[in-house]
């Protein structure tokens, strides 16, 4: 496979995942601001920060108003991570690697792009927001389904999974990073209503409020939320899960190509670190420190993959 093609597949799935994650963040922000918060502006601000869009946002707006944030995160092409920008880039990459995709996958991406572009042509009214966000998530699910059901499990598939897992790991880690202080087990906050709102925001941002409840009954503590997001191997957006997908997909490549490269050592080291830790040792070490290191590692692994598999020559 061409190095460029591998890169195109990787970025196509990073951007698709980013598009979906952005929609999820908006959804969580919208819900919390609407129902639970006394200070919606600060909720929206942390949504913008989590989306990694703060500098672009501040360059354009002075305040964190719901309508501005929603518009900026969904439609603004000046924001490289907006849902619209992300789906455009996903589709451009798909077009570039079209020969590597099945017709079903290509059509799902192309139709998703056409649909989202049309839906986001004009500003989204508050009443339409749930429908619009649902549509974005549905398109994303269609691509994933087509991929799952029609693609050969070869190196092409591996690069899509690597892109997806990296973007997702980065996203979950950033959500924790922005809100890490609400997860610290400092006695004064435990059990307060405020914290529950914060934890719920976090869980909603990764669409996990329901699965969390299933697994933890009513036991919502900072440590149980953090444990779930970082270490639970069952939750498809936990750091542990994403790192496992990364290690597996890279492992398939190593086997397929008969070559173990630097990126393989890096991901193994990261997984070992996750395996050796419990939520207690992570808190002992410092949650913030742990997450920051994880984000740096993930980015470094991404860059190493680009180099090892010659995405850019």
């Amino acid at each position: 496979m061409l190095g460029k093609t591998a890169g195109g597949l990787y970025w196509m799935f990073r951007f698709l995942e980013r598009c979906e994650n952005t929609a999820r963040l908006v959804e969580a922000g919208f819900r919390i601001a609407l129902t639970r918060s006394n200070d919606p502006a600060s909720e929206w601000k942390s949504v913008v920060i989590t989306a990694g869009a703060r500098s672009h946002y501040d360059a354009k707006y002075d305040s964190y108003e719901a309508a501005h944030v929603v518009d900026f995160l969904l439609r603004d092409t000046a924001n490289p991570s907006s849902a619209l920008s992300a789906v455009e880039k996903a589709r451009t990459n798909a077009r570039m690697v079209r020969t590597a995709l099945t017709t079903e996958v290509w059509e799902a991406v192309n139709e998703g792009w056409m649909g989202i572009k049309e839906t986001l042509k004009s500003p989204v009214k508050e009443t339409d927001l749930p429908t619009v966000l649902g549509e974005i998530r549905r398109h994303s699910a269609l691509v994933r389904g087509a991929l799952h059901g029609t693609m050969l499990r070869n190196d092409i598939y591996d690069f899509t999974q690597i892109g997806l897992a990296l973007e997702r790991a980065d996203n979950t880690a950033r959500i924790i990073d922005v809100k890490y202080y609400t997860l610290l087990p400092s006695a004064s906050f435990v059990g307060s209503a405020l914290d529950n709102v914060q934890w719920e925001t976090i869980l909603r941002s990764v669409s996990a409020h329901r699965s969390f409840r299933w697994l933890n009954d009513e036991n919502m503590t900072p440590s149980s939320v953090a444990d779930f997001l970082i270490l639970d191997p069952r939750f498809p957006r936990s750091l542990s899960f994403c790192s496992r997908i990364l290690e597996e997909s890279l492992g398939f490549l190593a086997k397929d190509y008969g070559a173990r490269l630097t990126c393989h050592d890096m991901i193994s080291a990261q997984r070992d670190r996750l395996r050796e830790n419990t939520i207690a040792t992570i808190f002992d070490e410092g949650l913030h420190q742990f997450i920051t290191t994880y984000i740096d590692d993930i980015n470094a692994i991404g860059q190493q993959i680009e180099k090892d598999y010659r995405f850019n020559g």
């Binding site: 061409l2 591998a6 290509w106 192309n110 020559g313």
Partner: protein
């Protein structure tokens, strides 16, 4: 004035109203509910959009990716008609390859005084870098598109030769797929020769043209300028259909005297490169130094016989519209036979007498640039305003050798499916010929382009033309 002319309609000119090749189709059509056809036509458009069968129009940022309108009435050619056409194309393509070899070697045809020397020496498409170089298998134009027009029952003319990088074959294939999808019953009633083998034939033909010293199965790749190119869809479509890599210049480099592509496992040699990048951009070391689209040093690899470039650099000389005017003589010179396919009468404006004639009859003529394509920069006399005519006349006087002129042909029409039923529109035809050392292979039919505006003679997709499925009937 156009409506007053008599046009040959390929469907409705027969004595009993319908010409024989269309008889079966007409029966089917008469029983169809126009509302159902309208619905199908809309479905086809949605299908093209969904599958991304689009082309980019240069200089139109707003409509970056556009669809080529598809008309559901097929253009039907009888087997007997096709047999003659394909024989004529074979002859012409053979002569073009012999001509190109000669032009870059001994130049016998110039010495014989059949083609004037200055037509070659002062020609932009002539590449001095190709002098004395014989491409693998001595094939210059691996893929040729011959543009044909028709004016009567037995009157086909070659309008131009596309020996450089003819495009449109993906539409030939997708149009057929679309028709099969929409009207499967038609194809069980009427026996139509299939076109779906084209990608396989193309791959076989390219592989057969690999350098002599290439052993084992040759590695073929398509070189595209990238996703912003107007024909990108076609490049990726063909790569996909052939099962070969679609590469860009930055994927390639010269490794140990070979052209190699950067893969996830290192560099891999390419034996045959089907390039859809113009000569000028092919090699910044040998041609345009600013090109980002090509591969530095590819011409040196080519000269060393380590890669086949399809089509060979420098083949554009055969597309030249002034050279075109000599094509009947060229065919006779190299094949010893009279040309089977007729040329359109052509005035070379470089010749003072011709220029005077052309200037005097501008409102009746079609004037084209000798290197023009895509319908850009041409004048259709009968459709031009007084102002356009006079400004074009000034251009002609300034640089006469840049132009040729032809009579306005009374192009045949084929009906399109319009809101108010069938409506005649002018068409042309571009069959595709594949050339390898093993022989010439022509897919039955080709791409029919159709002018969608009533009376218009311009069929180019960049100028708002559409396409039709083209049927060659089984006997």
């Amino acid at each position: 004035m156009d409506s007053e002319r008599h046009h040959f309609d390929e469907m409705l000119s027969g004595s009993d109203g319908v010409r024989a090749p269309y008889a079966e189709f007409q029966k089917w059509f008469a029983d169809e509910d126009p509302a159902r056809l309208s619905k199908k036509s809309k479905e086809a458009e949605a299908f093209f959009r969904r599958t991304g069968i689009t082309f980019n129009v240069y200089g139109q940022a707003a409509a970056q990716e556009r669809l080529i309108p598809f008309d559901l009435i097929p253009r039907i050619i009888a087997n007997r008609e096709w047999t003659k056409l394909s024989k004529g194309i074979k002859q012409r393509v053979t002569a073009i390859n012999a001509f190109l070899h000669d032009i870059y070697h001994r130049q016998e045809i110039l010495r014989a005084g059949i083609v004037p020397t200055e037509l070659i020496s002062r020609n932009e498409a002539f590449l001095p870098q190709m002098i004395g170089l014989t491409p693998p298998g001595n094939v210059y134009t691996h893929i040729v598109g011959t543009d044909l027009v028709r004016t009567g029952e037995d009157d086909f003319f070659v309008l131009e030769d596309n020996a450089r990088t003819p495009s449109g074959v993906s539409y030939m294939l997708e149009n057929r797929e679309t028709m099969l999808h929409m009207f499967p019953e038609l194809f069980s009633q009427i026996k139509v020769q299939r076109v779906s083998n084209y990608p396989k034939s193309l791959r076989r033909s390219l592989a057969a043209s690999a350098p002599e010293r290439c052993h084992g199965k040759p590695t073929v790749a398509i070189l595209t300028p990238g996703i912003h190119n107007s024909a990108y869809f076609e490049h990726s479509f063909l790569a996909d259909q052939m099962g070969v890599e679609l590469v860009e210049g930055h994927d390639l480099m010269v490794v140990d005297g070979h052209i190699a592509m950067r893969t996830t496992r290192g560099y891999k040699n390419i034996d045959v490169l089907y390039r859809r990048v113009d000569d000028e951009y092919l090699d910044p070391l040998n041609f345009n130094p600013d090109s980002m689209l090509g591969v530095p040093g590819i011409m040196d690899v080519y000269r060393a016989g380590n890669i086949t470039i399809a089509n060979a650099p420098g083949t554009g000389i055969a597309d030249d519209k002034a050279i075109y005017s000599y094509m009947p003589d060229i065919i006779e010179f190299y094949t010893g036979e009279k040309a089977i396919l007729k040329n359109v009468q052509t005035w070379r404006c470089s010749e003072p007498d011709s220029l005077a004639y052309v200037l005097a009859h501008l409102p009746d003529l079609v004037v084209k640039e000798v290197h023009g394509s895509g319908g850009y920069g041409m004048l259709v006399g009968p459709a031009a305003s007084k102002k356009e005519l006079s400004s074009f006349a000034a251009k002609l006087r300034r640089n006469p050798s840049n132009y040729i002129a032809q009579p306005t042909l009374s192009l045949s029409t084929v009906p399109i499916f319009a809101k108010k039923g069938l409506a005649p529109r002018h068409v042309d035809l571009r069959p595709f010929a594949l050339v390898s050392p093993g022989g010439i292979d022509i897919t039955p039919g080709g791409l029919t382009r159709v002018a969608l505006k009533a009376g218009s003679l311009v069929v180019n997709s960049s100028q708002g033309g559409g396409t039709k499925d083209t049927w060659v009937l089984e006997d």
